[in-house]
Subunit: 340 residues, 2 copies
């Protein structure tokens, strides 16, 4: 089945552009509750898989060994904005494990946070690898290499024991054979994983309600990571970032994790309404992350009753402004949930 | 007919995202030569219509009256990068017509050119309206208001004589009744025009080979504008911008004009191969302008023989790099031209 229209960009009274995509919602027992488009579409997990990249390190005892605190565990699962609150935690993770910024292999980019970017440029500074949105993940990978006695210099290679352990973890949570997961290189140079969108949702279903099949240390690590993410939503994204906005709007109820190129995963934690929780996976087909993804994510959480119907109406529909700040259009969600 | 896939984003060996869209190629007599998707899709012309917004001013004698030079006529048709070579010309246009930067109503944004943005921020400056990519268009609209004796303070209102004259010009070139053109507000606060993609191509066909139906002043204005655009390709876009790259790669052969939200119009000037020229209109359905639009535009010009087959291979396919600069994927054009 093909992708379906998920959002319309409207200028004046006329549709100017459209965004298509796929989404799937399943419960903690992996029963599909609703879907749009084709949940079997294969794409990359991107940063939405960060919890599973941190998991073997935490479950294996590495985080405890180095005395990583809850905010540091949260940052390992984050795509942060490079604000001082983020770079400070990343630096602390490196220091605790005995590494320096130059040991990271994620590369640099200007912070996602505009104010911090403007501050850096105005000060005549350059961004460091700590500002890379993945620096927490990479700091945890470095620490993991040291903890298991592997070479820290090549921790980002797919053949490295740290990455092999991550691949096995991802495969276990996705309930797929390791060799049916396609490997690519992420924007931060770490290996990343392509699989059907529905298997990404299965990963999140297993994260929020880990099966008995997983051993006790893994189940405890899942609980620790969820607790850390829920406690520090501002570290998972940052100021004005989608994950932070959603987790702040539904405090203690969800874990939200974007991935580059229009990916969004969300775990709705078990409660009275959803006793086994919900796992949501969304892919905007064209990779949009600025207008269709936030608009659809908010509308979906409202339709599922996770957010009140009047929540985040400044995000969905999203106003389009001209350079003078006048509203001249909007991005409308267009969700036709196929409920099962 | 629906949109068709025009580009694939590939990471490693796996397709990660796709971009769909529509395109139409017609000759100067408006015979459709090739098409993909639905040429009757309605969307906004955006900045690709700038030549038609400048046309009544030039044809009416306003540009001559104020002594606008060829580079100033080129900037009136431009979506420039806010580099010093652009802001200087915009300032000169304002000065010649007796206006100041504060008379512009386009609003401000940081320059599209990254180096100039970094320079402005590092110097503790803020961008002015001259940096707005549409400042040349707005300077010409201001001058036009003064030339016809209309109020310069409201030149951007759709009811203003300047905009009404533009609307009539656009309708004439699109060969559509005025009242079948939907009006929206552009990012720069000027009115903009929604119409079928094929009518945008008709506009460009009429621009490069104006019919006898247009009076001599209009035909001369078309020739002047084309000559100015071809002479100053660096003013139409800027350093590393698509229009400039394409017009530089096919010097004297084409006029290229992007519009926001994935629009691209191109006029291939009459030559031995295409004696009546070609008019091309492209819309990336999702509004992408970073990867699908350049990749498709370059591939299309190669397929049409306007560019050599080995031209601009650094743009199409477009390499995808990680934050360390390694190539980890590519954006591939996927053109299945339906030739007629």
């Amino acid at each position: 089945m093909k992708s379906e229209v998920l959002a319309q960009v409207i200028r004046g009274e006329t549709v100017e552009s459209i965004h298509r995509g796929h989404l799937v919602v399943m419960d903690g027992d992996k029963n599909v509750v609703a879907a749009v488009g084709d949940p079997d579409t294969v794409t990359y997990f991107r940063s939405a898989c960060k919890a599973f990249q941190a998991l073997p390190f935490i479950a294996g005892g590495g985080a405890d060994h180095f005395g990583f605190s809850e905010d540091e565990i949260a940052l390992a699962c984050a795509s942060h904005s490079g604000e001082p609150m983020h770079t400070r935690v990343a630096q602390s993770m490196l220091s605790k494990a005995g590494f320096a910024e130059s040991d990271l292999r994620c590369g640099t980019h200007l912070p996602f946070n505009e104010k911090e970017t403007e501050r850096i440029l105005a000060a005549g500074e350059r961004p460091t690898q700590l500002h890379n949105n993945c620096s927490g993940k990479h700091a945890a990978m470095l620490a993991s290499a040291k903890y298991i006695g592997a070479d820290p210099a090549s921790y980002d290679s797919i053949t490295h024991p740290v990455q092999q352990e991550i691949l096995k973890t991802v495969a276990a949570f996705a309930e797929m054979p390791v060799d049916s997961i396609a490997i690519g290189v992420d924007g931060c140079a770490a290996p990343n994983f392509a699989m059907p969108l529905s298997n990404m949702a299965i990963c999140f279903a297993n994260l929020i309600a880990p099966q008995k099949a997983f051993d006790e240390r893994i189940r405890q690590a899942c609980i620790s990571m969820i607790s850390a993410m829920v406690k520090f939503p501002e570290l998972i994204g940052g100021t004005e970032r989608l994950d932070t906005i959603l987790m702040t709007a539904a405090p203690g109820k969800i874990i939200s994790k974007v991935g580059a190129d229009g990916v969004w995963l969300c775990g709705v934690l078990p409660d009275d309404r959803y006793p086994r929780g919900l796992a949501i996976a969304l892919k905007i087909e064209d990779g949009d992350d600025k207008r269709a993804r936030p608009v659809v994510a908010v509308e979906l959480l409202r339709e599922l009753g996770v957010l009140p119907t009047d929540a985040l109406t400044d995000i969905s529909p999203m106003p389009i402004r001209n350079r003078r700040g006048d509203i001249v259009g909007k991005v409308n969600p267009q969700l036709r949930l196929n409920r099962r």
